[in-house]
């Protein structure tokens, strides 16, 4: 296991070295070597600028994702357990999920301006569809034996949803949340680039426009680190909540 991880790390080191050498030989001002980006990164982001540009991005991202998760799961399970709701709303869902979410940013700017809430709103709009659709599917695919078991023991409809449907659907809900998180990340960067006065997306774009090339790359590196960190946190949560699912699928495999 440790050897495998070392191999992966070695690949990253080799790639960085290759970049370093190519950049120094090529001497293109638009492609600075990683060593220079690292110096700029330390200077740029271990500074008050982190609070100014990165923190707003992070809280908007988390606010948008958490709202999308709560609304998406609640609505998705409700649609999944009700045939009437499903038949009424499923066509709408299928159309809206097919829309590239970035397309609604101009609408968001029109209606909400370029402030924080526009960004939170477009993140919610971008992230909610995979969460919603997966929650619907998860809630619909609970085995009839489990539902009958709960009914047999006298559980009411609501009690059955809480005690049986929701936990049964959790593996699919988490699959939706993972995709939703990735989309939320895309939406925060683009919404800040298109309509922003601060945030990482804004910082990267304005660095490019003022030819602060190493600063631009430093911003991208910070995004990569944040994305990796968020994904790692999500995986940690998933492993805790879905330990039973991971265990049972490992057994059948």
């Amino acid at each position: 296991m440790r050897a495998r991880r070392l191999l992966g790390l070695a690949t990253i080191v080799v790639l960085l070295l290759a970049w370093e050498v190519t950049a120094r030989v090529g001497n293109n001002v638009y492609v600075p070597p990683p060593s220079q980006i690292a110096v700029t990164f330390a200077h740029e982001w271990f500074s008050p600028q982190f609070a100014q540009e990165a923190v707003p991005s992070i809280w908007r991202l988390l606010a948008g994702f958490i709202i999308a998760a709560i609304v998406g799961v609640a609505l998705g399970v409700a649609i999944g357990v009700s045939d009437t709701l499903y038949r009424t709303l499923d066509p709408v869902l299928q159309v809206l999920r097919a829309l590239p979410p970035t397309a609604v940013i101009p609408v968001g700017i029109l209606l909400l301006g370029i402030g924080d809430w526009m960004k939170v709103a477009v993140i919610v709009f971008g992230a909610i569809w995979p969460i919603l659709v997966n929650s619907v599917d998860g809630a619909r695919s609970v085995s009839s034996e489990r539902l009958d078991t709960a009914r047999n023991f006298g559980f009411s409809r609501l009690e059955t949803i809480v005690a049986v449907t929701f936990p049964s659907a959790l593996p699919q809900i988490f699959a939706g949340l993972r995709v939703g998180l990735a989309l939320a990340f895309i939406m925060i960067v683009i919404s800040e680039m298109v309509g922003g006065s601060n945030g990482l997306g804004y910082a990267i774009l304005s660095a490019q426009r003022t030819f602060s090339i190493p600063e631009m790359y430093a911003g991208i590196v910070l995004l990569a680190i944040l994305g990796y960190g968020l994904n790692a946190l999500f995986t940690l949560l998933e492993r805790r909540v879905l330990a039973w699912h991971l265990g049972s699928t490992a057994v059948t495999r």
Partner: protein
């Protein structure tokens, strides 16, 4: 076939002229009447596709009959009553993989007003009765198929029903495990006095376990015959199954399976 008249209070379950049609489509059950006495082990044996699962779900109140009625202790069944619990064939689909064995068995007790220690002792007794005490902290998917079905049976027993409805509960396990589970079921009946109603396509199993066997026709289902099983109690796998009376009965039923009833025979 004649039998001694039974006092009404001895009848725990009465199925009267039950008919079940799916929507406006196929007729699954044409007309079935049967009754089960308190403490009795009754089997319904029929070919695959004879509507056996449909029959049990209707008896249990999970499905509404198209016509006819089900009476439990002389009361009409319209929704699943707490006195009847159904054990499904497919344990993997009826158990909850996110709960441990203990939590699975305790699951139905959420609906009973009991103190935590009363619940704990019901769970302990049920696990003890099926021989799974040592696996209380495991998850169902860590156990073999036979053990998982024991968990499902323990979950039903912990609820303390009067009647267990068993829907081919031993059909998905190997032959040795199957014999084991059959004897576990007989022990539970003796220990807790639970009335058992089993549906199966396995004639030998029906004869081995039962006091009476109802033979079901292919769909739309009717009852071909009701057969008393006068084999001695307690039943033992090797001895009972090699009994000449056992063999005669299973051969008789074997010839009947797949037939429609002769209309001339009065009930």
């Amino acid at each position: 076939m004649t039998r001694a008249p039974v006092a009404a209070r001895d009848l725990v379950l009465q199925v009267v002229d039950l008919q079940k049609r799916y929507g406006t489509g196929t007729l699954a059950i044409e007309r079935i009447s049967l009754d089960v006495r308190r403490g009795e082990f009754v089997s319904i044996v029929g070919p695959s596709g004879a509507g056996k699962t449909t029959l049990l779900k209707t008896v249990c109140g999970l499905l509404a009959p198209t016509s006819g009625r089900v009476l439990l202790d002389d009361k009409l069944v319209t929704a699943p009553p707490p006195e009847m619990v159904l054990v499904f064939q497919d344990y993997a689909r009826s158990l909850f993989p996110w709960l441990t064995v203990t939590a699975n068995v305790a699951f139905p007790l959420r609906k009973k007003r009991l103190t935590p220690s009363e619940k704990a002792s019901l769970v302990r007794e049920a696990l003890d009765a099926v021989g799974l005490t040592a696996f209380a902290g495991h998850y169902p998917w860590q156990l073999s198929g036979g053990m998982q079905q024991r968990v499902a049976i323990a979950r039903a027993v912990a609820f303390r029903p009067e009647i267990l409805l068993l829907d081919e509960p031993f059909a998905s396990v190997d032959a040795l495990t199957r014999a084991d589970l059959e004897d576990v079921t007989l022990r539970l009946r003796a220990e807790f006095g639970i009335t058992m109603l089993l549906v199966t396509h396995d004639i030998d199993e029906a004869v081995y376990l039962s006091d009476r066997v109802f033979v079901l026709s292919p769909p739309p289902s009717v009852i071909v015959r009701e057969i008393a099983v006068p084999l001695s109690q307690p039943r033992e796998q090797e001895r009972t199954r090699s009994d000449a009376a056992f063999l005669a009965l299973r051969n008789e039923i074997h010839r009947m399976i797949g037939q429609r009833p002769e209309r001339t025979i009065a009930p």
